[in-house]
Each structure stands twice: as C-alpha cells, then as structure tokens.
Amino acid sequence: MELGSLADQSKATFSLSDEDHTLANAVRFTLNQDPRVTFCGYSIPHPSDNRVNIRVQTTGDPAREVLKDACQDLMLMCQHVMKNFDKVVDDFKMSQHVKVEDRWPW
C-alpha cells in the first residue's frame, strides 16, 4: 500500500504487510544507492504487526517508480548471485571429483 499525496508523487511511504527487516533493509540499501533518492528509511511501527513502512523521497521522479526500480535492481543482483553460486558449486564438485580420481590406485 502506498501513502503519499497526489500533488507530489516524489514523496511516499510504502507499507508492506507480512514483511520485515529481511526485505526492508535490503531494499533500503538499494534505494540509497540510487542517485535519484534524497531520503530513504524504513521502520517497523509495532513489533507485533507484521508490517514495515518504507519512506522514499526523490529528486522529482515518482517514488513508486524508484521503489520498483530498486526491487528490479535487487532482483537482478539475486539472479547474478544465483547464477554464480550454481556455477561455483559445479566447479567445486568437479574439482573434488578430479581429486578423488587422482587418488585412485591405478
């Protein structure tokens, strides 16, 4: 859910239910990497509500678009780590395999 004003799209607070520090802190970090963002922070209003509020203020672009871009960015990064991890695991298993064969008696 987005809370902002229709007049000024560049400032908004997004309230995400069923999310916590896991997502919010990572998104906050990516938002702060974005040069269009002038302010970004998150809070958990109450520990027993499963909800986080993410505040985004930009230099002029609509806050929601900037947030979406941050999510996109973070997803691409996840994709990259996933691809890399997969490859590295395969390489590692391969190298282990070679080592075992080296020790083979013949």
């Binding site: 998104v27 979406k68 960015d73 990064m77 282990q96």
Partner: protein
C-alpha cells in the same frame, strides 16, 4: 565511507561443501544483502514437517501431545517443498490440507511384545511417498552407531503400543521453527589485520610471545627462524580486541590495526538434512526474488486500499 561503489555483481567462492554443510565467501556486496540472505535461509525457505497427528492408540509413557510435538521436530527430506503448495492456499482440498498437492501422510505402528525395551524411531514412520521420508543420518561408511536407528520418538516396554496417522505439510521457519531447514547460518566480516612491523621489531622475543599468546584464538604466530610475528589465520580472530588491549598495556599502542572489511562475508551454512546446504542457499535467493517480485507487482494494484478504506483514501488525498 570507503569505496561505497558496490557493484551489482557480488562474487561467490566456495570454501567447503558437503551435503549438510557449506562454507563460502560472498564479496562485493553489503551487509544488508548478506543479512537478508541469512534471514531467509533460517526463516523463509520452506520444508516439510509433520503438522497434524491423529493418535489411534497410545499406551506409552509419553502423552499424545508430547509425541505429536516430537514428531513435528523430525526433519523430513524436502527437495519437493519448493514445488509444493501451502495447505492454506491449496485449491484442491479447500485448505483442509489433506490432498496430495499439499500434504504427505505417514503411518506409525509399533508394539513391544518382548521384555526388551523397544525404541520407536523416525525409521518406523512409513510414507507412501519415497521423496518425503525422515532424514537418514547414518554414516554411509556403514559403521554401526547409535544414530543408525534414526531419531528416537519414544521407548516402549512390554505390552505398550503406539499407533498413529501423521500429516506432514509444507511450512516456513517463521511460522514454527520445526520448518526451518537451517541448523545454523552465520556470516562474519572478513578481518583485515595489519601489523606495524617497525613497532613490532622494538619488542623482544619474549614480549612478542606473550603478545601472541594474549589472543584467545590462534591468529598470530612467530616464525621460528626470523622471529617475526606473522598472521597465520586472520579468520580465527573473533573481534575480541584482546591483542589491541595487550599492546596498549605493553605501552605499544598501534602495534596492530584490525578492521572488518565491510564488503566481504564468510558464510557458514549448516542444514538439518531436509535440504542440501547448496540447495538451501539457492532456494533462499529464489525466495528473496519472489518477495521482491511481489512488492514490485503489488504496487500496480494498491490492493490494500480496501483494507484501509477511508483512511487510505484520506492519506492519499494529502
């Protein structure tokens, strides 16, 4: 801050990899990302665990709920969990969680008929689905060990009997720790240790030795030939500051400088056996991606406006 230009391309390097254990380096990224990954692995990667137990006969010394709790904590092989449905949003069975898409049924029948105590273990749980079975901890080398017989659920004496039906469902660690696939997931910052060599050379060998020994973990050592102090294992450093305090106490402040590299992390992942450690990491990234996707797409619908009714509309209007 130094070098805040984190690339969007973190690097990964595997140090150690076994079925239930992984140690790897994650570089060129931020603590928030590393922490998100750690938190997802612990609390949001789904596994399958026993969630509903119908006891037919229980004349054992443990009461019904005690046994049900113990059954829930048994790790089940969960490679299938990512593709399975949560029983709460399963259409096939209207959320009562008893259909093949969202559950697996187990049966347990045990009765002690001899004077020898009978151990009822996880190996006595029978499931018609061979992809979801209690995790087998026995050593593949085939050595007879106490773990050979699985996880003990209850012990029966002569005449006691346990008969039950158990339903295992998909779930996440956030809802109940029994669904957590991770035994431990930790990450540490890689330490950057610089010894001030000039200052170090003003120390006698004896002083060097006492300084090296002031560290609770073996981080430093002395070269037998050159009597130089060397960093043998920087990762053994636990950020305890003991060597720094020791240097100050010896009147040599600045003998060593230790900082944490802000963009390099060393992960250790231990799995319960439900999912392979390497798969656990991949599943965690997948879950994180799904969460981001959900946020990105829900922005279009502003679904929760109905939920907040006038309040939402009011705030929106300014």
């Amino acid at each position: 801050m130094e070098g805040m230009s984190y690339a969007r391309t973190p690097r990964v390097k595997i140090r150690e990899l076994k079925d239930d254990y992984a140690k790897f380096e994650l570089r060129d990224t931020d603590a928030s990302i590393a922490n998100a990954l750690r938190r997802v692995m612990i609390a949001e990667v789904p596994t399958i665990a026993i969630d509903l137990v119908e006891i037919e006969v229980n004349s054992s010394v443990l009461n019904d709920e005690f046994i049900a709790h113990r059954l829930g904590l048994i790790p089940l092989t969960s490679e299938r969990a990512m593709a399975m449905r949560f029983s709460r949003d399963c259409d096939a069975c209207d959320g009562d969680g008893q259909c093949e898409f969202c559950s697996v049924e187990f049966h347990l029948r045990a009765k002690c008929i001899s004077d020898q105590t009978l151990d009822v273990t996880s190996k006595d749980l029978y499931s018609p689905d061979h992809t979801v079975v209690p995790v087998d901890f026995s050593d593949p080398s085939g050595e007879e060990s106490s773990e050979q017989r699985g996880i003990i659920i209850v012990k029966l004496r002569r005449g006691q009997e346990l008969r039950l039906r158990a339903i295992a469902r998909k779930g996440i660690g956030k809802d109940h720790a029994k669904w957590s696939p991770a035994a431990t997931v930790t990450f540490m910052y890689e330490p950057d240790i610089h010894i001030n060599e000039d200052l170090m050379e003003t120390l006698t060998l004896e002083e060097k030795r006492t300084w090296v020994e002031s560290s609770p973990t073996r981080v430093f050592d002395i070269d037998a030939n050159t009597h130089q102090v060397l960093v043998v294992d920087p990762e053994a450093y636990t950020y305890d500051d003991e060597v720094i305090k020791k240097a100050e106490a010896m009147g040599k402040p600045g003998l060593v400088e230790i900082s944490a590299k802000q963009d390099s992390f060393i992960f250790t992942v231990e799995s319960t056996g439900a999912i392979k450690a390497s798969q656990l990491v991949l599943n965690a990234i997948e879950i994180l991606k799904q969460k981001l996707d959900a946020v990105r797409l829900s922005e279009d619908t502003v679904e929760a406006d109905d939920q907040f009714g006038e309040l939402g509309a009011h705030m929106r209007g300014g």
